[in-house]
């Protein structure tokens, strides 16, 4: 199956960063069309498209849009999550770099549909190149009257779009932490539903707030121009339209690939030129937060929100996601899974915001124990301890970062237990003596449990 480029259609078009080129290729006709529709009609179109959020959780987009209170004088905010930080994911970076106007147009339509006057795009501070393109797109859109006062002559539609840049924190991609960071605080999450109102009722500055991912907004103009039914004609029962997957790792042609939902996982690997440096060992299909899939069972998976992996722990059966953010990392058979998990654990330990105990302590313990195993000090009981810690984090942490830290390790313990056991028994990698694990030691952890290095 080939690619189906909708969002990335114009990525190689020279001058696409200029508004004139974008308009010539049909840009901002969706906005004109939307402004000719009732606000509820716009939401209904998004509903019939079946669009689900592309930030990782796959939440139906229209429910958020429809949930913003109507007929109030409260300020409403529209936020665009461009804090892309999930390891393996680089689709939002390219969408901003190559197709910034598409995002801006989607945000303005969302603002119109939700009666909002102000919006912010929160871009991670590292993305300077991409953010410059968004700046340029916004400045041009103001000049053309697509942003600002009385947009396209509509007396009742004023709308501003500001850029807020982050300063280095994965956790700020979590929507409530993003709002904290936007309001000038530490990037820590806030109490969530059902313990607190949903963001659509009380989000940023306690006002109704819509938050979606860059890719989600990028889809909107296409839905408005071609209709929700057109979009829903692509994909599977529960996953409509196209999704961008970012391929990296041991892959011949790394990069972003836009495909229709439902494609077999291995077809996408083929599309990206196949595995390099050896045979396929495992794939992390949707960013570091989803568990890896071993080559032996990879043929059983398709890329859609329905696909999931089952993990058992004591009395609990969990179905873990496959698609996630679309950051697909491919690993060949020279990859040591235990070291890979050590590096994953290090990421989460470093990025844990520290607000809740299961994640703050648990991620560090996972890291310490994995570190002990690859330093040659592993004990047979370590595997149970790892699983126990994962169980202590999963479902018990304040935000989803904790769960995401536990899942990959739970998955690897299911599929690669023998590799852990080999490490513990032989104090070296099952890949052979020449294998030198990269031993990260950048965290300021307390290593008293570890043997001297």
């Amino acid at each position: 199956m080939p690619e189906t480029r909708i969002l990335l259609k114009h990525r190689d078009e020279p001058g696409i960063e200029d508004i004139e080129t974008y308009e010539r290729l049909g840009g901002y006709t969706a906005l004109r069309k939307a402004l000719g529709m009732e606000r509820q009609e716009v939401i209904n179109e998004v509903k019939s498209s079946g669009l689900r959020g592309r930030g990782g959780a796959g939440f139906p987009t229209w429910i958020k849009w429809d949930g913003i209170p109507k007929n109030t004088n409260q300020p409403h905010y529209v936020l665009c999550n461009a804090d892309e930080g999930e390891p393996g994911t680089f689709k939002d970076r390219e969408l901003m770099l190559k197709c910034a106007h598409q995002i801006v147009e989607g945000i303005i339509i969302a603002g119109y549909a939700t009666l909002s006057k102000v919006s912010y795009i929160y871009i991670r501070g590292e993305f300077v190149e991409s953010a410059k393109m968004v700046r340029k797109a916004i400045d041009q859109a103001y000049r053309k009257g697509y942003l600002g006062k009385k947009i396209l002559g509509r007396e009742d539609f004023d709308f501003d779009l500001y850029i807020h840049v982050g300063a280095g924190s994965y956790e700020c991609g979590e929507e409530s932490a993003l709002m904290s960071s936007l309001m000038g605080e530490r990037g820590q999450p806030r109490l969530k539903f059902p313990h607190a109102p949903l963001p659509v009722i009380a989000g940023a500055w306690n006002q109704p707030t819509l938050i979606n991912n860059v890719e989600t907004y990028s889809v909107v103009p296409h839905i408005i121009v071609n209709g929700g039914a057109w979009y829903a004609s692509m994909g599977t029962q529960g996953s409509k339209g196209t999704k961008i997957f970012s391929l990296s790792g041991h892959i011949a042609k790394p990069g972003n690939y836009e495909i229709i939902f439902g494609m077999p996982l291995l077809d996408l690997v083929e599309l990206a030129g196949g595995v390099t440096g050896g045979n396929l060992k495992a794939i992390i299909p949707g960013g570091s937060s989803v568990p890896l899939i071993p080559a032996e069972i990879a043929k059983d998976f398709t890329l859609d929100y329905e696909a999931s992996q089952t993990v058992q722990y004591r009395m609990r059966t969990m179905r873990l996601p496959v698609v996630g953010s679309g950051g697909m990392m491919v690993f060949n058979d020279r990859t040591d899974i235990v070291t890979l998990m050590l590096r994953t654990a290090e990421f989460y330990a470093h990025e844990s915001c520290g607000k809740c105990t299961p994640c703050r302590e648990g991620t560090r313990w996972l890291y310490k124990i994995l570190y002990r195993i690859v330093s040659g000090g592993g004990r047979p009981s370590d595997l149970d301890i790892l699983m126990n810690i994962c169980d202590g984090i999963d479902g018990r942490s304040y935000c989803a970062l904790g769960d995401a830290a536990a899942w990959p390790i739970m998955g690897s313990l299911k599929h690669y237990r023998h590799e852990y056991e080999y490490w513990i028994e032989h104090k070296r990698s099952p890949l052979g003596d020449n294998f030198v694990p990269p031993v990260p030691n950048r965290l300021n952890l307390n290593f008293e449990l570890l043997p001297a290095r």
């Binding site: 930080g85 390891p87 300077v128 300063a167 309001m183 000038g184 790394p254």
Partner: protein, 193 residues
């Protein structure tokens, strides 16, 4: 840097004050301009945030110093020590790790005679390990100031160092300046293409 007659040892230039005033209007509360103000401070104070810089942000946003410290210390891109003129941030996260990021890191440490987290004696370079820069298709990725360098290997990293030695661009100040311009409406006209 001139002080523009600022009281209390404040260092923000007139331009920075104007930019901060503009950015404050984007939010319903003054305090929301905390991250932008810290970026302006990092530009004005030579690429890092000494205690005076945090104090100036606290004064300008009318917030307690402790709050400014608490916020600034949460984020990894605010520097509390002076970095090298070129601060090399090597991504060693998953996709980069399996494509030789640690070899790049070790080569840099050897070549520059410093470890991750340190600055060379001449102040030219500093290195750090960072988490995923989300450009994994071009692993290994190294960020230097406002620029990403992709497909860096232990073999070609020398060329990168040579290029940087001869370049006045991609400094920590330039990174902060680029981000402030990005947050300023009309900033794209001022920014180079």
């Amino acid at each position: 840097m001139e002080t523009n007659g600022n009281e209390g040892g404040h260092r923000f230039s007139q331009k920075s004050i104007a930019q901060l005033d503009e950015i404050i209007t984007h939010y319903p509360e003054r305090r929301a301009a905390m991250l932008p103000a810290l970026w302006i401070a990092q530009r004005e104070y030579d690429g890092y945030l000494p205690p005076e810089a945090l104090q100036e942000v606290a004064d300008r946003l009318e917030r307690p110093l402790s709050e400014v410290q608490a916020v600034a210390s949460f984020y990894t891109m605010y520097n509390f020590r002076k970095r090298g003129r070129h601060h090399l941030e090597v991504c060693t996260c998953l996709s980069c790790a399996v494509r030789g990021a640690y070899e790049v890191m070790h080569k840099l440490e050897k070549e520059l005679g410093i470890s991750a987290g340190e600055v060379t004696v001449d102040g030219e370079f500093s290195i750090a390990e960072v988490e995923c820069l989300d450009f994994c298709g071009a692993a290994t990725v190294v960020q230097v100031g406002d620029q990403y360098f992709g497909n860096v290997t232990a073999e070609n990293v020398d060329m990168l160092l040579d290029q940087l030695r001869n370049s006045d661009s991609h400094t920590p100040v330039e990174l902060a300046d680029a981000l402030v311009k990005i947050m300023t409406p009309g900033g794209s006209e001022a920014a180079p293409a």
